[in-house]
């Protein structure tokens, strides 16, 4: 039966009678589309895999919302079913699945690790470490733990592998930074400007700090992400563009707009605090080193709730 016909008989807002129940015909169709039988998966196992994936993300809906059959269908149809069944087959120790995984992902995994670490030796070490984990070397309470079990098919398996490698690498760097020896030379600390005549008065600086803080807090998530990625992380426009999946020129344009809007907002805030337009502009020329504020903290302050998804690993 065609997918359209499958869903045609269902009311758009029809909810499953039992919470978590899924459309059997849809599952049949997805089973046929997947290559689960090639890796020795049973139909029941496949259904379980899909159910767990849907439950992990609540079918892409907010938590607490009960997904309709249609919403379930939309969620399942964008899953990478082939990657999903392969990963689960590998996690369960299917030899054919592992051979296929090695043939398809072993070398790309090494290349990705080298690209992430920018060092061949470190990259190979990182890839080997993850590979060992994927193979199930780690155990918890006597049970083999395979990270592939956390993969739900929302993105490509290769993308998941790359992101996992990047996670490991970043976490490793952050840990080693905390363990950095005090004997190592510290970076030179830039001292504030000493020219008294050019310094803005303390009152004006205080006003400026507040104006900037309010302006940044009013920026949207995307603009704050752009500002933080560009000015705090030092990422290039291309790197930001890749992360957002847009063109480099789009990032440049959006970044410029974010800067202009922030500047206008700061000026507006200064004028609201009683400064003239000219004085506000002069205040913006103050030496940034005179400001007693942490832009990093300001940018990373979120108005919304913290990210709700729990990291599985």
């Amino acid at each position: 039966m065609a997918p359209a016909e499958t869903m045609a008989g269902l009311a758009e807002a029809e909810l499953p009678k039992v919470r978590g129940a899924m459309d059997r015909r849809l599952l049949d169709e997805l089973w046929r589309q997947s290559s689960g039988s090639n890796w020795g998966l049973e139909r029941e196992e496949f259904d379980q895999i899909l159910m767990s994936a849907g439950a992990a993300f609540n079918f892409g809906l907010e938590s607490g919302v009960n997904a309709t059959f249609r919403q379930q269908s939309e969620f399942f149809r964008v899953l990478r079913l082939d990657d999903l069944v392969l990963s689960r087959a590998c996690a369960t120790g299917n030899e054919n699945a592992w051979q296929h995984f090695i043939a398809q992902y072993r070398q790309p995994l090494i290349r990705a690790a080298i690209a992430i670490t920018k060092n061949e030796m470190l990259g190979r070490d990182l890839a080997d470490q993850l590979y060992a984990e994927l193979f199930g070397v780690n155990t918890r309470e006597g049970e083999r733990r395979c990270p592939l079990l956390s993969y739900c098919g929302r993105g490509s398996l290769m993308g998941w592998l790359r992101t996992t490698l990047a996670q490991r690498h970043v976490d490793h760097l952050r840990r080693s930074r905390r363990l950095k020896s005090l004997d190592e030379p510290l970076n030179e600390i830039e001292l504030p400007a000493t020219d008294v005549t050019l310094q803005t008065s303390a009152a004006e600086l205080s006003q400026l700090e507040r104006a900037i803080e309010q302006a940044l807090l009013k920026r949207g998530a995307e603009e704050r992400f752009l500002l933080a990625a560009y000015f705090l992380d030092g990422l290039t426009l291309l790197q930001i563009a890749r992360a957002l999946g847009v063109h480099e020129a789009t990032v440049s344009r959006k970044l410029r707009r974010a800067i202009e809007r922030t500047r206008k907002q700061v000026l507006m805030n200064l004028e609201r605090s009683g400064m003239s337009r000219r004085a506000a502009k002069e205040a913006l020329d103050a030496d940034p080193r005179d400001l007693d504020m942490n832009l990093k903290k300001l940018l990373q302050h979120s108005q919304s709730e913290a990210f709700k998804e729990q990291a599985v690993l």
Binding site: C152, R162, Q167, V170, D233, K308
Partner: protein, 406 residues
């Protein structure tokens, strides 16, 4: 599911990967973006993962290109093979053309021999010229063939010129002679650039159509008159004592045509170089005698008439035109000045007589080569020039300006 610890508040690898791959719903994407705006760690993870994806794409593109690169490895090996094949093809083509042309030349020779009126033996210069005459009979026909072929778009332009200037295979001296006009008068080549034909035999009988017969007869009459005049010159030159040089001295004047267009003639005698009836004479120096192509020296006299005799020393050159006017050049033929007549009759020849060479005026071949090629020695500065009039009388001069009767 709520996160309890700071680590658990980060989105998982799958969410970040799906975010970068645009696989999330709008609501989920907004949440991830909100988190990325405040989380440097996750921004760094996404950036690194996408950087690795870019590297992977580049590697994949490299693999796609690799098959072509493998094919290109054969190019260095194929290039010599292609060159060899091309050489063989060109050689075969040239050989085929030569064979065809030889066949045509032989055919035209036979036709020409049947049409051409016999030339009296008295008018012919001595033996050395006979062979070149025959040779040029062939070349002339060959050039005629080329002329006929020039109407076709693929007609070769360079080949006739090569035929005229290339040294023959039967030796250096004969090579010099071969390019010079023979007493038959048919061995002279006219340079015709305008019609894309390098050299055209001027005296060769044309394959005229019946409608052109009257025109051809008039031309033949004119040529006959010119031939008569030229034979007188030959007779004068042939009357020189045997000790005198110029074994082919009269050959240049034997041309039946008084055409002002330049001709291509190879120098053959170092001391006295009888020029053909054309106004353009090419000297071939040592290099041409050794079979190496050289740049020809072209003589353009101020009178506009062709030079019939040329003598070249180290510093000066002398030339006589068809009317007997003598010209002197001090810059190897670049400019010429007329020499006032200090002799009786009409000058028909100038030649150089070396003091060391004695009365014969004939220098050794090596010295002559040096003179022609501009490699003259100090002794050659002592050269004396001789001028011969139409009655066989001789005048001598050292500087080419002052002539004393002998």
């Amino acid at each position: 599911m709520r996160a309890k610890t700071q680590h658990e508040t980060h989105p998982g690898a799958e969410t970040l990967s799906a975010f970068a791959e645009q696989a999330l719903s709008k609501r989920e994407r907004g949440e991830v973006l909100e988190h990325l705006a405040i989380c440097g760690r996750c921004r760094q993870i996404v950036a690194l993962a996408q950087e690795a994806a870019g590297a992977e794409v580049a590697a994949a593109q490299l693999e796609v290109v690799r098959p072509r690169a493998r094919w290109r490895r054969w190019v260095p090996a194929l290039a010599p093979a292609a060159a060899v094949v091309a050489t063989v093809v060109i050689a075969a083509y040239v050989h085929e053309r030569i064979v065809e042309k030889d066949a045509e030349v032989a055919k035209l020779d036979r036709e020409h021999a049947s049409q051409k009126p016999p030339i009296s033996a008295e008018a012919l210069p001595p033996a050395p010229v006979a062979a070149p005459a025959l040779r040029h009979g062939g070349s002339e026909k060959k050039n005629k063939t080329d002329r006929r072929e020039s109407a076709e778009p693929r007609a070769s332009v360079a080949e006739p010129e090569e035929t005229a200037t290339a040294p023959p295979a039967d030796g250096i001296i004969s090579g010099m002679f071969s390019a010079q006009g023979g007493p038959t008068g048919n061995a002279r080549f006219e340079l015709r650039r305008s019609d894309n034909e390098a050299l055209v035999p001027s005296g060769a009988p044309d394959n005229k159509t019946p409608s052109d017969t009257a025109l051809v007869n008039e031309e033949r009459k004119k040529r006959a008159e010119e031939q008569k005049e030229d034979r007188q010159l030959y007779a004068a030159i042939a009357s020189e004592p045997p000790a005198e040089p110029a074994p082919v001295s009269g050959s240049g004047g034997s041309s039946p045509e008084s055409n002002a267009e330049p001709a291509d003639v190879s120098a053959q005698e170092p001391e006295t170089q009888p020029a053909p009836a054309s106004g353009s004479v090419q000297f071939h120096g040592l290099r041409s005698m050794m079979g190496v192509p050289t740049r020809p020296l072209v003589v353009q006299l101020p009178s506009g008439r062709p030079a019939i005799s040329i003598a070249q020393g180290v510093h000066i050159s002398l030339a006589v035109d068809r009317r007997g006017e003598v010209f002197l050049s001090k810059d190897s033929g670049a400019t010429w000045e007329k020499v006032g007549p200090q002799w009786t009759g009409r000058a028909v020849e100038v030649r150089k007589k070396s003091e060391r060479a004695g009365a014969s005026g004939r220098a050794p071949a090596s010295e002559a080569l040096g003179q022609i090629s501009g490699l003259g020695t100090a002794r050659e500065t002592d050269a004396v020039f001789e001028l011969v009039n139409d009655q066989g009388q001789v005048w001598t001069s050292v500087d080419g300006k002052t002539w004393i009767g002998r």
